[in-house]
């Protein structure tokens, strides 16, 4: 049995751990400066993507190698809304991005969940590459490899309360966007927590562990897989929508399949048999990648080696390994 079903911490215990972390995160930007704050925002957006991805891998037992599609769908939709509809409100942009990724993951998911195991992975990958090739080829709509710029000064937060024009706009953007993304991230975490601990979430884990038995006790296996896929894709789409204004640009790279691989990497780095794993994994992966890229032009070599060593020696990821060490210390 996995750790997920064994230990569901009680609500007071969660609050006791969660509230100090949230308070600490609230004060953090005062101490770490502009650049580190920006890195942390990237980490939060990827964490939302990985959290969504893990509903499929960790809880339903389906490895999607095509989640770049939903991240990219969220990102490109926001870019289209800003560029073509001249909408400034970030909330409307997010709504659009989430709806678009919901629709596309509902369609792709409907096709993909007819298969499991490696067939599922390849099908998800093939479909995601349809979107990539369209973004790549229809350059008069998508800008091709140049992508679409999403200028910061064209966006306002919380219904126009915050705008980012004039002097010091960049600083103001980073600090207010930090809290903006943090709040959405926390909401996403709570929603995902509720989903995986609901009867629906338990049913998904039953499907993962033994789909035949799950079917026998009356779980509609295929429909639940589809629902999990849609939720998963929508979370990843939300992440893409939040990522775009921060990055200022969206390119086909985020639709290309190696980016799907990065989402898988994040989740495995943190540990996919664990609720917090993808969150820790995504934030760590972001730091790892940024510093590997800054430190060496051979950053792929660094990341690839980390992945290989991780899979060979620490298959339960950071969170799983820390948990094991904690248990060993407690016992001995």
């Amino acid at each position: 049995m996995s750790q997920i079903s064994r230990s569901a911490p009680s609500i007071p215990m969660l609050l006791a751990i969660g509230i100090p972390i949230i308070i600490a995160l609230g004060f953090l930007p005062r101490f770490i400066g502009l650049y580190q704050t920006e890195l942390l925002i990237y980490g939060f957006t990827f964490a939302i993507a990985a959290l969504g991805f893990n509903l499929l891998l960790g809880y339903t037992g389906l490895l999607s190698f095509g989640h770049s599609a939903y991240f990219g769908m969220g990102a490109y939709t926001v870019a289209f809304i800003v560029r073509d509809l001249h909408v400034q409100s970030m909330e409307l942009c997010i709504l659009g991005g989430v709806l678009a990724s919901l629709v596309i993951s509902a369609i792709f998911g409907y096709v993909c969940v007819r298969h499991t195991r490696i067939f599922f992975s390849i099908l998800a990958l093939a479909l995601s590459q349809v979107l990539w090739s369209l973004a790549f080829k229809f350059f008069w709509i998508t800008g091709g490899t140049d992508g679409i710029r999403v200028p910061r000064n064209r966006i306002t937060l919380v219904g126009g309360l915050f705008d980012f024009t004039g002097s010091g706009a960049y600083q103001r953007f980073v600090y207010s966007y930090y809290y903006y993304v943090l709040v959405i991230f926390l909401i996403a975490v709570v929603i995902m927590w509720i989903i995986v601990h609901s009867p629906f979430g338990k049913a998904l884990q039953a499907i993962r562990d033994n789909e035949v038995r799950a079917g026998f006790v009356g779980v509609p296996v295929q429909r639940f897989r589809w629902l999990a896929f849609v939720i998963s894709g929508t979370f990843t789409g939300l992440a893409g929508a939040l990522w775009v204004p921060l990055n200022g640009l969206t390119t086909p790279d985020i639709l290309y399949w190696p980016f799907s691989g990065e989402i898988v990497f994040m989740t495995v780095l943190g540990g996919f048999r664990n609720f917090a794993g993808p969150i820790i994994g995504a934030i760590s992966f972001n730091y790892l990648k940024v510093y590997a890229v800054a430190g060496s032009q051979y950053w792929q070599l660094v990341l690839g080696s980390v992945l290989v060593v991780l899979v060979m020696l620490m298959p339960t990821g950071i969170v799983g390994t820390l948990g094991r060490i904690a248990r060993m210390l407690r016992r001995g």
């Binding site: 298969h115 195991r117 490696i118 898988v264 990341l303 690839g304 992945l307």
Partner: protein, 296 residues
């Protein structure tokens, strides 16, 4: 009419290269149930090694019949080098993971892809490498009113020879029988005294050899560039999904379908040329999950 013949030849040339890559990928999946995400990178590595070897031995400006033959003989070094790489990787990185869920092997091969991508950059530099002197040295032949490079016909011949050779190897040789037995029931094969570990290394090395050969034969016609592996892998996936995972005939038919659709696509619907290929793969996977030639 001439254009049609040339486009057909181009498609077959392209199919020959794609078949070499996809057959290796399919063989490895068929015997070991491993989806090797680094397979396209092996193809790229083969191209780099061959181009480098040809350039290192003959320099950029050697001409004449003897030099040309020498260059052609050196070209397969890329394939042999990749086979050796495969023979090292399987026992060290993949074998420890056979007992674990298949996701882990997929991830290790993804890590391998990233590592090898940068190793190529480190060793061969970021600039494209080509063995174009072979292509130039062989000249061209006249088809109707148009000229066609003679080297492309050699690639087509290599593709056909490889297909026949691989078929004979798998279906007509003693090793092929053992290979098929291992792929159908690993435990039973092991109980009958077959050294499964050795078969796995050999199968993986042969699969890698095919990818390296694909790279080696393509490099006189197209320069080896960084990133060519990632693109090639997805097309090879499309090929084996259409043809059937683990099927040799499937790889052949799939390669032909993909290259003819692609050639037609570039001619008539360039914007959705790639999207159509991925959609065909998705539709085949939906209607016949085991592909056109695959068995469940």
């Amino acid at each position: 009419m001439d254009t049609l013949i040339i486009q057909t030849l181009n498609s077959i040339f392209y199919a020959a290269v794609l078949f070499l890559i996809a057959a290796g990928l399919s063989l490895i999946y068929g015997v070991m149930r491993i989806v090797n995400l680094a397979h396209g990178t092996f193809y790229a590595l083969g191209a780099f090694v061959s181009a480098w070897a040809v350039g290192a031995v003959f320099g950029a400006s050697s001409t004449g019949g003897l030099a040309l033959i020498g260059q052609l003989l050196i070209l397969p070094i890329g394939a042999l080098a990749i086979a050796a790489v495969g023979a090292v990787i399987e026992p060290t990185l993949l074998r420890p993971l056979y007992g674990r869920p298949e996701e882990y092997i997929l991830l290790v091969t993804f890590g391998l892809l990233m590592i090898l991508d940068d190793v190529m950059k480190l060793v061969f530099g970021g600039t494209p490498l080509s063995a174009g002197s072979i292509m130039d040295g062989m000249g061209s032949i006249r088809i109707g009113g148009l000229l066609y490079p003679a080297y492309n016909l050699i690639v087509i011949a290599i593709g056909i020879i490889s297909a026949v050779g691989l078929w004979a190897f798998i279906y007509r040789s003693r090793f092929g029988v053992i290979l098929r037995a291992t792929s159908q029931d690993r435990r039973m094969a092991s109980a009958l005294g077959i050294n499964v570990g050795r078969i796995y290394v050999q199968a993986f090395a042969i699969g890698c050899f095919m990818a390296g050969l694909g790279g080696a034969v393509v490099v006189p016609a197209q320069a080896a560039v960084l990133g060519m592996g990632v693109d090639a892998l997805i097309l090879a996936f499309v090929v084996i999904v259409i043809g059937g995972l683990g099927s040799l005939e499937g790889a052949l038919v799939g390669a032909l379908i993909v290259s003819f659709v692609r050639t037609a696509g570039i001619q008539f619907f360039p914007e959705i040329e790639l999207a159509v290929l991925y959609l065909i793969a998705a539709v085949v996977l939906l209607i016949r999950p085991t592909g056109l030639f695959g068995r469940a």
